[in-house]
Symmetry: D3
Subunit: 159 residues, 6 copies
């Protein structure tokens, strides 16, 4: 039967042993969606400079958060990411910014948490930069889109 | 006209000057919702020990993340939180865990980002601890519920 | 003659070169003991919830400290722990909590410092959570119990 | 009746609200003792340079750890230390190094944990630097010696 | 006679006591200069997007480093910056980028180190982003330009 | 044509993919020079203790900064340094301290940034410790001296 791997037989949370897991290339893609007022989205996208900076800051925050994942999520293993990208796509039709984070490494444990953390923190950073004009922004649909490598195989959400 | 306070006249992102803002008691409440399979929620809530540990770990992760907010969100000011609480409420009717984070301080700048960060990271931690059995969990409705203190006054989302 | 490996021929502290050491599975077990008043121990152990939370918080703090060891101990190498467990055993006969931390990795350098740091910080966390009722708690017997892997071979303290 | 202040009525650990506590000058002194082989102590104290460096590294590690206390101990409040000193005294009669850490600030919460953390991490650093020649070192007697300021008044251990 | 304030009478480095210093508004401005090949500077400045991103990343890195200063510089006091700005000015006549960092707070200790750290890390980030095409870049003229507030009064370098 | 590797085709900064790069031994040497008043240099070098401590603190700060490089420089990969040394040489003829940092690892990416960061932070630490007597100190000539390993081969600055 499947069970919560981070909880041992006594109900105690611990960092699981991955020593015996094989080193394989692992990749994960996660997303987050930030919904805002139409005016807020326009402020982000209007003007080369502004767009560059709001989205650039969120992108950098997401990348750095991916690297700090094992520091933030108590039972995550430390690992050496070999690639992190965070893309931010303003979508006027839905007044949202779609954030997609991709993490990759050759290691003994998956990188889902790194990708999810990157997407979340990029979203929080957009909130921070726009909160003076729009306190009602919502971050939603934070989820894993795809995961490759490791024993559990390929996982992909249907589009 | 309102504008993005973190972006200066040249379109450059910088940490805004709050030196002249008055020191007032500030409080913010934020939430996040983690949606999961019914079986996953049962694993979390079944058994005193397990419940204690899964939710305790998420609560601690959220509290620590609040303290590390200015390290994660590039343009947040460092500040000295005087209170952080993170409550996690399993809701069987919706197969969700509702996370509510409250932050407080006497300072020159609000604590919305701290509360939002706490709620998000608590949600990510639940994902981490349950991902072996449920990769499809979704974190959503990350939003500010209430904010008190400071020049912008009381902000409260309608229930 | 044996010498302090972190001090070079000029008496300068530096992070030693482990590039040529072989990658082997390394494991270390360390302990710490927290001595307290009988009433304090009872508060920790009385009631499912309280016990869960005091010890759960200390366990998580210990695990996270193990991951941050190279950040805390100046000449420790950064490394990627593949396992960390922290167990806390209340012992009524001696009014103590016995903390046992185990760390593991496949790498070029041992994990004694990670295990010792985990045990120490778990002990400090117990102190923090109980200090309102018992300022006289003492953390003692912080020591390495066992070490496996690496050139120096198996080290084990006699029971 | 006294109770564990970090645990709320539901048995949940949270960072307590200190918003209403008055800002006073607070100071705490804590100690740790590292016991080692006579030869190990001689290596530390023999030669100006070596002594300078082993003890200097431990002192710096302790000071930095005091500043990082709220990051390590989950329910500690972030605070702005106005003074940290760490003194290390080799004592040949007992083959020990006595570590004494003092922390000070004007704030709403005490600095016991900062002083205890500084003393512990200084002790761990000595262990790290000498472990190649003496794995049996023991850190003990980690305790609060004195605490001034705040509602609970002056606390001092009898010599 | 003036002396090194961080070194006590025994020659030991410690974090000095600023408890009795008055809280005043303090500001510091520091600079760094990155010299590079003409082609490298052109790559940075050619194209709106690229310029936005290289300089935006360096700016963010500098701002975040200012906040982490007490973590990096062992004897710096933790403090709560109320403003950080980092400006980067490409200067074609000298094939340099001039970095100017300004930090401000109301506190008991100056913010020179925060400004110097921000300028340095912004410079290192430019190096990182351009090193694939120009390993010979040099960071120089890292210095304090101006300092206001505190007992030592106004300090300003002649232009 | 060579280009800025950290900027993708859309002008966005991201952490480049090094997954396919081979694991080789990589080493980098970088320097920084701190220029000061003759009296300041004398204070650093006069007396065994003082010298030990000022330079020891700077050395430790540099070593720790090397380990924290990927946390400071946004697009740097996390990596596991197998060696870090920081040497500081007071040079009376030029009223300078020459800082030389060496980093090494077996990995997929170079360690130039780690060596440059170590040298810079060691220089900033000297500034911090001497700023009470000499605010005009300048850090300059921060540059890569040598780089070995990896696809780009051996790089060495002419003496």
């Amino acid at each position: 039967m499947s069970r919560l791997t981070h909880i041992d037989e006594n109900g105690h949370a611990n960092m699981v042993d991955v020593s015996e897991k094989s080193v394989t290339t692992r990749e994960a893609v996660a997303q987050a969606v930030v919904t805002m007022l139409p005016e807020t989205l326009q402020m982000i996208t209007a003007g080369e400079h502004k767009k560059g900076d709001v989205l650039a800051v969120a992108r950098i925050a997401g990348i750095q958060a991916a690297k700090r994942c094992s520091d933030l999520i108590p039972l995550c293993h430390p690992l050496m990411l070999s690639k992190v990208t965070v893309e931010l796509e303003p979508r006027e039709e839905s007044n949202t910014v779609l954030i997609t984070a991709t993490c990759k490494l050759a290691g003994q444990t998956g990188v889902e948490m790194e990708a999810l953390t990157a997407a979340s923190v990029a979203g929080l950073t957009i909130y921070d930069m726009c909160k003076a004009v729009d306190k009602g922004m919502i971050i939603s649909d934070v989820k894993l889109l795809e995961k490759k490598g490791g024993k559990s195989g390929h996982y992909k959400v249907d589009a």
